[in-house]
Symmetry: C2
Subunit: 235 residues, 2 copies
DNA sequence: AGAATAGTGTCTGTCAGACACTATAGA
DNA sequence: TCTATAGTGTCTGACAGACACTATTCT
């Protein structure tokens, strides 16, 4: 029966190890990057791992809180977008026994964290293309791959990539971020059609220079939800 | 740092309570139904709850195994389709403290379980429309609602609803199941186009009577993955 | 003027919706 | 023949892809 046994003991032996980790993405220098942390403890000491840790049942009200708290410890700011990716579990993925990791998938504009990250050397943006050449803790390589796939899918039918951009952004910037995420080019026209067909954005009066004609700036309207389109972009 | 503290103690005080629950759907008598279990223990004794329970770290290799094991205890068979829905967590959703529930979302043909279920009275298919008039344990009402939403979404861009049907099925049966799930009618023609455009199905030589002209039967090809379409049906 | 980027106009292609039409079984 | 369900033919509509064209800014 759900969530109970007859005499539940909170210290019951052989509970799974439960942790919360996050795959925080950003787009920087035209590359998709993940925030990784150099592990200071066993197991996998010295390897790169995802930021995360245990729930603090006294201060966290939900696991979302745990994810945010752990991310803020590493970046000093909260991501603009956070959603659950998936749980990864098993009796073989952690040498200490059966473990369960709830993985979140998050987005943030690069410049919101860069200044903080530059001052430490155990937290770093890793280019997704270099993951395979590094020593990665646990099954975090697989996890990152799953997260990347999800992000790429979402970029085809939603506007989530805007959360990799600063408050004000141009069509050109959004196009570039989307293209970096999905790894192929898209039609500028299609993007504009989508921007105009949703009610997610408002235009900013002041335009901005971009090497050519001044570009219209947009921002996400306050309090709007992400719109999902009923059709994918070229996939 | 992910998945460890300096001196991790598996019996550390104040770990969250971790359970695995499943929302098992079927379509029966033209209604979408969920498998619910009458709780025999506190908390919420006597209320209806989702089938689930604790991980058995000795026999389960992953949480998928936990979900399947718990479902088989109630139905005596394995569902045809199983995927993670979401984690629900918080310090307020269980009177015993911070709890984490990994919820799976599963599909099964009604006739595969009905004979077994009819012999017990603490396990039952509940019509989704009657959920609000029952006493439901924990936040399981909210969970079921989320699961229903996900199922409805999936029915618009994938063929998952076939997993509510027996091995051999007709277009008419599939159409009816989809319509029950999403709560509106769809075009028979659109469904046939989708069936023919994917490589998921094979036709069965023997046709079957259905009140009119004999109907072509289909089955899911062995070992195929679910196809996701790039467009939704009318939503 | 020429390069660079922003933005529009508009045609095509794909696929879902609509719905009339044909096919075939049983009463 | 009448009704019920299966299955086809085909037109329309929505929206993404393609790409030429115009607009504006800087050098």
């Amino acid at each position: 029966m759900s969530e109970m046994t007859n005499s539940y003991d909170i210290n019951e032996f052989k509970n799974p190890i439960f942790t919360v980790d996050s795959v925080l993405f950003t787009v920087k220098d035209d590359a998709l990057k993940v925030l990784m942390v150099k592990r200071a403890n066993e197991p996998f000491i010295g390897n790169w791992g995802l930021p995360g840790g245990f729930v603090d049942v006294d201060s966290d009200t939900t696991t979302d809180g745990t994810a945010l708290r752990k991310l803020e410890e590493k970046t000093s700011v909260a991501p603009q977008y956070l959603e659950q990716l998936q749980v990864f579990s098993g009796n073989a993925r952690d040498p200490r026994g059966f473990s369960v990791t709830l993985v979140y998938f998050a987005l943030i504009p690069a410049q919101e964290v860069s200044s903080h990250i530059d001052t430490v050397d155990d937290v770093q943006w890793i280019d997704i293309k270099n993951i395979n050449s590094l020593s990665i803790a646990f099954d975090h390589k697989v996890i990152i791959d799953q997260a990347k796939e999800r992000l790429q899918q979402k970029a085809l039918y939603s506007m989530v990539p805007v959360y990799c951009l600063p408050e004000y952004f141009t069509v050109g910037q959004l196009k570039s971020v989307i293209e970096t995420i999905i790894g192929k080019t898209i039609q500028r026209k299609s993007l504009i059609r989508r921007i105009e067909s949703t009610d997610m954005f408002e235009t900013i009066d002041e335009k901005v220079k971009s090497g050519g004609r001044l570009a219209q700036q947009y921002k996400v309207k306050a309090g709007v939800d992400i719109v999902n389109f009923e059709r994918n972009l070229s996939s």
